[in-house]
């Protein structure tokens, strides 16, 4: 939970930093694009059934580590800030979350041969049959 909230704060910082620290145009545009994406994915990941969406932050966090060189940032603070944010988002997004509820095997069950929700269904049926005296 706190890791995702931290990611949201970092994403908002990416959006605000260009005006606060007076970045050049390339770094500004980059922050204005990547910031909202990280905020979006981290917000969706706040809910247990969609926590997996936090992993979608990976490519954008990696991009933040590379972008000072690829885009040629003019301001040194922009490079430092973006790389620090990229590092932190990468680490925070890889944190495992303890699940309170079960979701029938989750999204990956949709392309599994023996999804969890079907196993549970069979268990329920046989249990019901036992109770009915079969």
């Amino acid at each position: 939970m706190w890791a995702k909230l931290m990611n949201i704060v970092l994403g908002i910082w990416l959006m605000a930093a260009p005006s606060v620290l007076e970045y050049g145009p390339a770094a500004s545009d980059n922050g204005h694009i990547v910031g909202p994406i990280i905020v979006t994915f981290s917000t969706i990941a706040l809910w247990e059934s969609t926590y997996i969406v936090q992993k979608w932050n990976y490519p954008f966090a990696l991009w933040l580590l590379l972008s000072p060189w690829v885009l040629g940032y003019e301001v040194a603070t922009a490079s430092m800030s973006d790389m620090a944010v990229g590092m932190m988002v990468l680490v925070l997004s890889s944190r495992k979350t303890g699940m309170k509820n079960r979701y029938g095997g989750g999204w990956s069950s949709l392309w599994e041969k023996n999804p969890k929700h079907m196993e549970d269904q069979r268990d329920n049926e046989s249990e019901a049959e036992r109770r009915e005296g079969f």
Binding site: P18, I37, W47, S49, T50, N101, G104, M118, D120
Partner: protein, 186 residues
């Protein structure tokens, strides 16, 4: 057991209860209100737009070429989207993930892509026009917050359709909730 409580197999709760759905519907209605207000401004029914933080940011964004690229202004499109979210959130009972998978899928798709479009609009604002718009941001936040809580119900319906596919029941009829077809699937 699942029959009485409508909890999907392998789950700990029913994602289609009113306690789950009403907050999303309320968010959609707030979003609808904001988007309606912004479209009234874009259609010149209101002369000024409320903007407490970013100076003439809202006027710049709401009068931009992109916002009028379609026959109707973009805020009106957003208002229609929120209305679809609210209506799709209300239709059906607390077992709709298995009785009416189609409405759950419509709901999930409307909430998902709409949220994504709002984020894209936020992204384009400062890059293209060097301006921010408070109410547009508020609308985007609402859209994003709606996505997570709407998706669990969609997952339950998709798993249900997956079970239907592997049973003797017709997947087509199950999807539309026709007749007693759903009784054949767990």
């Amino acid at each position: 057991m699942a029959e009485r409580t409508h909890i999907p197999p392998g789950w700990d709760y029913n994602p289609a209860t009113w306690a789950q759905r009403i907050p999303i519907v309320i968010l959609a209605l707030v979003g609808f209100g904001i988007a309606t207000y912004l479209s009234l401004y874009q259609l010149d029914y209101v002369d000024t737009v409320w903007e407490p933080f970013f100076g003439d940011g809202s006027t710049t964004i709401l009068n931009s070429k992109i916002s009028h690229i379609l026959p109707i202004p973009d805020a009106a499109l957003g208002a229609i989207g929120y209305l679809v979210d609210a209506v799709a959130g209300l239709i059906g009972g607390t077992h709709r993930w298995r009785k009416m998978p189609w409405i759950v899928i419509v709901f999930g798709l409307a909430v998902g892509p709409l949220g994504f479009i709002s984020v894209m609009l936020v992204v384009f604002q400062p890059v293209l026009f060097s301006a921010w718009c408070t109410l547009c941001l508020a609308s985007a936040i609402i859209s994003i917050v709606m996505i997570g809580p709407a998706m669990d119900e969609m997952l339950a319906s998709l798993q249900y359709i997956q079970r239907a596919k592997r049973s003797e029941a017709s997947t087509w009829k199950v999807f539309w909730g026709i007749g007693d077809e759903t009784e054949k699937v767990a």
